[in-house]
């Protein structure tokens, strides 16, 4: 072990607690066992009718004994579960008294169809418009929906339950949100504002309208049968991502204060990088420069060279566009080594947990470091010759892994990358 500051003189930021829930199950142990067994959590949707939809499968979480009435309810429930797990592992603070701020990656919140239908029914009419809905909305009958459908509502609940400090931040950087939550925590600790931060990404948004929205953008896989084969990152026959639910939480701490309280160090967030793509709302710049710049920034922030990275936890959504651009970005920075370094996509098994993905995949990256074993990219039967990554096809692999790069690239030009290491460097 070395000094508690990095090469820039900043406090080193470590992870002392992690929690995760995905369509594979609840908790690190269950998820790790299934991820390394190459299992898929993708299943046919049963929560609502899928008739008339092009996509009828997703990585839903329907094994919890709660029937959510909205995506926000489920997002909150999932965030609650993973925060419990992470805080318990880190043994930080006392119950309901987490000694630091909350950074929450959460999907944008809105009133959903069950509530809209409830209002519509309440009008007592068969022909009506928003004025009629407005007329029945007030008077106290639906006060709970004001609380529920505020954008800050999930963070509000978590801040109270876990006793985080200060103004909780709810954020969205689309598919990079989970990574951004971690980045905000890292930055706060590096600035010396706090010794600890609770960073959570959560996603409970498998509902009819979210499926339709992504379908209309032609972003989703439509290979519904069998669901477990739908998510095919880096394969030639990949046809889109599979939307999924999940959440992950990380307790970040200043290395020095974590050591002082005798906490077990699970890993280090050695670097964060971010660079925006201004090319298009949903597509990457064809020259890959923003992704390349993002990857270079994260390496610079970690004071590392690309040859020190042993494994890349890819964004790997399985959309034709993303996987191609990710190869362009990685191969430009890593050169010939891009063909040798293991690059796998957890999304082949758990689907794309959108707002949570960056956090979920950071946890899986840290588990990879802990177990020295790389989860595979499953459903890799038809390699795409244009993407000659070593995708760790179909079977997990033991490997020496000291540093992982985890990438997140999202709509709106949101690119964020993290470098996670086992030990401080």
């Amino acid at each position: 072990m070395t000094a508690a500051r990095d090469k820039f003189g900043r406090p080193i930021v470590v992870v002392t607690g992690m929690g995760v829930v995905t369509s594979l199950g609840t908790g690190k142990s269950d998820n790790w066992a299934k991820l390394t067994a190459g299992e898929s959590g993708i299943r046919t949707i049963t929560r609502f009718p899928t008739d008339g939809l092009k996509t009828s499968m997703a990585g839903t979480i329907d094994f919890l004994p709660v029937q959510p009435s909205s995506s926000t309810d489920l997002s909150e429930r999932l965030a609650d579960i993973v925060a419990e797990e992470a805080i318990a592992q880190s043994a930080i603070g006392t119950k309901s008294d987490f000694p630091g701020p909350l950074f929450l990656a959460v999907a944008p919140v809105e009133i959903e169809w069950p509530q809209r239908l409830e209002l519509g029914h309440d009008t007592g009419k068969t022909e009506f418009d928003y004025d009629d809905l407005l007329r029945v909305s007030g008077g106290g009958k639906y006060t709970r929906y004001h609380r529920r459908f505020l954008f800050g509502s999930v963070a509000d609940y978590l801040a109270e339950k876990f006793g985080t400090k200060g103004s909780p931040i709810s954020l969205s950087t689309a598919c990079a949100s989970g990574a951004t939550a971690i980045q905000l925590g890292v930055e706060a600790i590096r600035r010396g504002e706090t010794d600890a931060a609770l960073c959570i990404g959560t996603e409970g948004s498998v509902n009819p309208e979210s499926l339709v929205r992504f379908s209309l953008l032609s972003a989703l896989s439509t290979q519904n049968d069998p669901p477990r084969l739908a998510s095919k990152p880096f394969s030639k026959n990949r046809d889109g991502f599979v939307i999924a639910e999940g959440a992950a939480a990380l307790v970040l701490e200043n290395y020095e204060s974590a050591m002082a309280r005798g906490a077990a160090i699970l890993g280090v967030v050695a670097g964060c990088g971010e660079l925006t793509d201004s090319f298009h709302r949903t597509r990457s710049s064809p020259d890959g420069k923003p992704i390349i710049g993002c990857v270079r920034k994260v390496l610079a922030d970690a004071s590392m060279e690309s040859d020190q990275i042993d494994y890349i936890n890819a964004h790997g959504t399985a959309t034709p566009e993303n996987d191609k651009m990710e190869y362009l970005g990685i191969s430009t920075v890593f050169g010939e080594r891009a063909k040798q370094i293991p690059v796998s996509s957890n999304k082949s098994m758990i689907g794309h947990t959108v707002s949570a993905a960056g956090a979920v995949e950071a946890v899986i990256s840290l588990l990879t470091l802990e177990h020295q074993r790389i989860p595979p990219t499953i459903n890799y039967d038809v390699p795409d010759p244009a993407i000659p990554f070593d995708v760790v096809p179909n079977k997990a692999r033991d490997a020496r892994v000291t540093a992982v790069m985890s990438n997140s690239f999202g709509f709106g030009g949101q690119n964020a990358s993290l470098i996670l290491t086992r030990e401080p460097i």
């Binding site: 418009d129 407005l134 009819p208």
Partner: protein, 402 residues
């Protein structure tokens, strides 16, 4: 930039060097300044009656969003925000400066976009007429939703559009959470620059208040002001807020960075603090504001306060109790002139504070209750307050540059 310079001699002084305003009172600093001093209010009691809203003053979008294709890809809230962001970049003198824009932080305080009211209403009406087949909702949504509407609704796509239209590409973060998103955007951007993690940032937010779908959310707890407009402090038993329409963006940067490029400050952004009271017992907001006040830094006598007070209760009364404890400070509630612009309310307050300091005057009071009084001296310190209608308390200290 995430990188911190290795030698950090102490917190950097941060200046407000750009302001972009496009509001219900008009476009640009002069239009807003003049309207405030003339006590002009653009409010509509009829268009969405019984709900009172402040309509946005139309602009020629082409001047800040030159491509019609870009304009079409956005809903009103994104167009308003992208437009105001462009004004802020112009004001700071960095528009088109690829070197600076390529490393500029951006933190946007955002809600979400308008729904397609016709689609929603049609689906609900058809459903009420007995269309309950399993595929009904799915098929209607697949057929009726415009494919690009999703992108016009997504919270982070205001930032996405600003990146596309204006080329701000250093970092991009979107904070949500109503009023708190506004003060946290300023708080984190300031902390990054003061801590040497960045040199320059664009912060702000926007809202289109003429939205029935948004009125529904706030009507759930009867927060909307109805029937008749009243100034914020004069709402008495008719508590509530009139949704406002505004884009408010600021460019903030380290003094060193500003001086190196010859940029002039409107004001200094000295501190931003925030907290979240649980609000379970009366007086919690008053106490939280008092605590935040004590953390702002040294306050001289005879300063000013610009508050985003909403008119909602009980928070407005709790804030009023706090204000009455600081009678030396001239108060202005921007909610009277602009309504409640939610995520944009705190950036709007920051903008008006910086503008007041740069113009050497506090704008006119507009308050029949006489809580707001004339201020005859040029303000050198203005405290900006945000107390969310339901959650979140924030405060900033804006000062004249010495």
């Amino acid at each position: 930039m995430t990188e911190t310079k290795s030698s950090n001699p102490g917190p950097a002084e941060v200046w407000i060097t750009g302001i972009g305003l496009a509001t219900s009172l008009g476009e640009g600093l002069d239009a807003n300044w003049d309207a405030l001093n003339q006590r002009r209010i653009n409010v509509d009691e009829n268009g969405l009656a019984p709900y009172v809203v402040h309509p946005w003053a139309p602009v020629n979008f082409d001047t800040q969003i030159p491509k019609k294709g870009d304009q079409r890809q956005m809903e009103a809230w994104q167009r308003i925000g992208t437009y105001a962001a462009g004004l802020a970049l112009d004001s700071a003198g960095v528009k088109g400066n690829k070197e600076i824009l390529g490393r500029m932080d951006m933190i946007v305080a955002a809600g979400g976009g308008e729904r397609d009211l016709a689609v929603d209403s049609n689906i609900l009406s058809l459903r009420a007429k007995g269309n309950s087949a399993p595929a009904f909702l799915n098929e209607r949504l697949m057929n009726d939703l415009r494919p690009t509407l999703f992108l016009a609704q997504l919270s982070n796509l205001l930032a996405g559009n600003i990146a596309i239209v204006h080329g701000v590409t250093g970092t991009s973060r979107t904070f949500m959470g109503e009023e708190a998103a506004g003060f946290d955007a300023a708080r984190i951007a300031l902390a990054r620059i003061a801590g040497g993690q960045s040199d320059i940032a664009l912060i702000g937010g926007s809202q289109n208040g003429e939205r029935k779908d948004m009125l529904v959310l706030y009507e759930f707890d009867d927060f909307n002001l109805k029937d008749k407009f009243e100034p914020v402090w004069a709402r008495g038993s008719k508590a509530g807020f009139a949704l406002g329409s505004a884009g408010a963006f600021l460019v903030i940067e380290s003094r060193t960075h500003a001086e190196a490029r010859g940029a002039k400050p409107y004001a200094r952004l000295t501190n931003v603090v925030a907290d979240q009271a649980r609000r379970k017992d009366p007086g919690e907001v008053t106490a939280t504001l008092e605590t935040l006040w004590s953390k702002l830094g040294k306050l001289d006598d005879n300063g000013a306060i610009i508050t985003g007070a909403t008119g909602a209760e009980p928070v407005t009364s709790e804030e009023l109790a706090f204000l009455r404890r600081h009678p030396d400070f001239a108060v202005r509630a921007i909610g009277t002139a602009f309504g409640h612009t939610m995520e944009a309310q705190f950036p709007l307050g920051l903008a008006l504070a910086a503008l007041s300091i740069s113009r050497g005057a506090l704008f006119s009071p507009n308050d029949p209750t006489a809580l707001e009084v004339e201020m005859s001296t040029p303000p050198t310190q203005i405290v900006v307050i945000g107390a969310g209608h339901w959650r979140g308390e924030g405060m900033a200290l804006v000062e004249a540059v010495k």
